[in-house]
Subunit: 318 residues, 4 copies
């Protein structure tokens, strides 16, 4: 229940104020030289996002690899790693011990487990995305070696699409003690046609499941998404040209690179909707907006999904 993927499979662990967060990445092909600096940079993107929005909590986030590597090269065995929670100050949360914060998971954890880790958000904290980013960085490195690029950008924050205005909005929210949501747009380029399963494991279904695993996500669409609900079929079609050698070129891409649950070789693009961070009137250590830090998390979840689909497909072997 804390795992995702079938062959390329990540299991994560850790509460925000326990000893560590971490994960076990199973099924990563053997022989991949991991760029550890690249992993660290991905974590830095998660930790700081942009200056205006980032929480003040300092997270060195040094990853310790516990298994699966020999001289930095993957052995094909499970890659376990952890990041210690060094800046945990549970005493900050002492006043919350017997309170449910609104729009947090305090109450639902209590309802589910009959008890909860009141020291911070426990397993519901954004801190639990650290192992996602570590594993996602490894997945992206493997994908790059196969010619596949996964990238994401902030599409808008609170409706603002221009960087300058985004920053202004974030500053304003910080001053007002308020928070704001937004949309992250993701792209996957270089995918072969033929990934995904026809019925319940459609490519978009697996991608959607991955995105809704990210805290604060309220919506997901791919291709032209919700906008297609007001289009006519004649506008939404993606005509294609079939060359003499049988290769195919699409003249438009409303579909977002997927038809019938299976990739068609065109770019996959999708949007992920984040609600405003629910923390209000608290101690100032929290972000006013999840978006800047969420970009690398979206990339990570997408990369994990694509890596698993490729290994299920089998065309690159293991």
């Amino acid at each position: 229940m804390n795992s995702i993927g079938t062959i390329f499979r990540l299991t994560t662990f850790g509460e925000s104020h326990g000893p560590a967060v971490g994960g076990v990445l199973d099924g990563c092909p053997a022989g991949l030289a991991i760029d550890l600096q690249g992993v660290a940079e991905a974590l830095a993107r998660r930790a700081t996002g942009s200056t205006a929005s980032a929480s003040q909590r300092k997270e060195a986030d040094a990853v310790e690899f516990l298994s699966g590597l020999l001289d930095g090269v993957t052995l094909g065995t499970p890659i376990a790693f952890m990041v210690r929670n060094e800046d945990a100050r549970p005493e900050d949360y002492e006043p919350l011990r017997n309170t449910y914060r609104p729009s947090h998971a305090d109450y639902t954890y209590q309802a589910k487990y009959g008890l909860r880790d009141w020291r911070g958000g426990g397993r519901a904290s954004a801190r639990t995305t650290v192992p996602v980013v570590v594993a996602g960085a490894i997945a992206r490195q493997w994908l790059v070696s196969k010619g596949i690029l996964v990238e994401a950008v902030v599409k808008h924050i609170g409706g603002e699409t221009h960087p300058q205005r985004m920053d202004a909005l974030l500053r304003q929210c910080r001053e007002e003690g308020d928070s704001v949501g937004g949309v992250v747009r993701g792209y996957i380029q270089g995918l072969p046609a033929g990934l995904g399963e026809p019925m319940f494991d459609k490519f978009q279904a697996c991608l959607a499941k991955a995105m809704f695993s990210i805290p604060a996500v309220k919506g997901f669409q791919y291709g032209d998404g919700f906008a297609m609900t007001s289009m006519r079929g004649s506008e939404a079609n993606d005509p294609m040209e079939v060359a003499e050698d049988g290769s195919v070129r699409f003249l438009s891409n409303h579909s977002g690179g997927i038809q019938g649950g299976i990739t068609n070789g065109a770019e996959v693009y999708f949007d992920v909707a984040f609600k405003p961070i629910p923390t209000l009137g608290h101690d100032g250590r929290h972000d006013v907006c999840a978006l800047p830090r969420a970009v690398v998390i979206v990339e990570s979840m997408a990369a994990l999904t694509v890596a698993d689909q490729l290994l299920l497909d089998g065309r690159f072997g293991k």
Copy 2:
């Protein structure tokens, strides 16, 4: 890969123009008296939708149960069922044998499997939702016995929210040989708090995966969804009151009944975006809009998801 669910698990089979479509529903609790008339009514809703939009293909859709029932009561063993494809006319599709229809799955199936069933849409046909509706009807009957209701309605078609205008739009599309999309709104009432897993099997992640298994779905959101991306945190909060006995009442429900991936006992509501049906200038046997027939499919996938979550939770036993 043609299965969904962990304990309450549906496996489906069938091409639109093969001998039959059907499924195996595993994990349904023993001792449930199935209302076979209710199953037939669900299939009728799928087959006809509303008059203005439905395809002319007549589907008697008589379900034959092959196992798992004794005198109409579930045995706890797999419930297999099938519906024969009686009205299949593959000769209609003969001209398409060597052609890829745009925005269909013809090309992606060819890319994935190296061959395809050119007789109609094969496994990508909407016909494959028949077994989903059969299994979903059984799931709903079990849920009702536990006090849980799953329902869906058409929220808009091509932007029109009033029935009259929807019908006019559908008629217009039919005249113009065009098609149109829309949004289905789903509701789940009576859910206990505590369903869903904290990390990758969040309640909304499982629900999203189920919805994106439906053909033509391009987007999913729950609670206030994409609209929350332009809200401030102060607007989006769901304050709650904790009574002396520890019970909780939410004063608003922007969250859509889920926090931290776990249900909070409030109503779960969600939207599913359907693109326009891609068939254009074809033989007139196809719908101009998936929406009217899609309502019962959305209900079915939601019911399958909820039934599995309840059994994973274990609170009702098996």
Copy 3:
């Protein structure tokens, strides 16, 4: 819970005296021309075994394929099939409606489900191995196309290893109204080195799970098995020669073709222990020994296991 395999995955259904038994085989590679006569021959081996031992119940066992094939060639989509239960005579079982037969599953099904299909053995009947044999025959055909052979023989019946004596023992048991057990030996030839996972999905663990799915199986061993518990290490070693090109030849095969959970390219061989059939003093329609009919079932479960391992490995693509 009624499925086995991860990619090459069989789900079965059916009670012995319900309308049909059958299965859905998912993940079978596309483009395989199925030899339907070969499937029928496998079913005939299951139905009759050898004359002296077989039950008198006549089973035409005509398979009807419901999906996944076009002109006898696999489409890559789920292959569903069923065999009708034509000779069911539930009235034979009427006296057993309120009785638990000793060493049958009557009581355990009642305990598990709170009710049971008293018409024959329900899901515990050997009849449920019909779909295993159908799917296993398809698996074997695919394996043969990859140069892999799966075969089984009767190693002994009630301790007798010579056919003549086996037959005499079976006749004697029939006269005495008694039954007897035995051992089936299985062989897998042509396997590449490298199949199986190092920890919990060891090749032998998956094979053992498959064998213990067969009714009446009480033991499983591979290589020299239990006999190795009384050997010294110096006797049990399998020395190998490494040629200049890196290829390896094993000078003995006590290990049974598996080391550390992973195949080494040598023949895999294993034994499956069957208890005597528990039916005593009943109406004479039952076998006195499961062994002759069990051979093809052992082959089938082994073939299903190997096919899944090969697809997980990915070396032959999909």
Copy 4:
């Protein structure tokens, strides 16, 4: 592929000479107070076995818990833990860098992954059973709280069933630089009737898969096992008495507490066959017999299996 279990699910990691071995135990019910001293004692049993047989490698084996506990009580979230590999001396293995040890997994790992961790046995080392014992100890504590006992004993070593003679045999083997195998007998008491699934996830199938995950295991049988292959049905039956209140008492237990794949409430007993340890003429740091240390590993794998079956059954809730 390095995970076992569906709800109560263990994922392990670690090479024998990497930084650490460990695991993530997911699905353990919330609110269980872990007896950490009991976990340490289980590890001590794994580390030393009996004096005559144990390797000289000293393993402090101090477990560090990384998540899932608050004040020693389970939170319901993943319990991650690790044991550092402090006594690793890879230089001992330097001579083996380019050699395949016979009857080890050196060659099969090379064949599978194209490279291997030559520093000791890597993932094939018995060291990887450390996390199994940690998780198994937790599982046993939960089971005890439900009245279920899992225990194992050495049944024979090299054919010797008396402790004195076993010790003499082990001493002799050590002097001769040889090794020897044996059988561990396991018992599960207090199980409710009704656990296990009728077809492919039979109770014995899950138990067998778990046992064959243990290094050096070559055979598994339950109830009277292989001995039943030479019995008549009339000897092998387990008659039962049904009391007026519907409760059942078995007059014998040849079946080993399982019928039709489902537990019947009687004691489950089983045997696990271990081959002789393959290390010969090496440096003396290895055991001459796996048996004494294997007892707690058998108990652990059995406990993990039973805990998962109970949670799948749902009768104790989560």
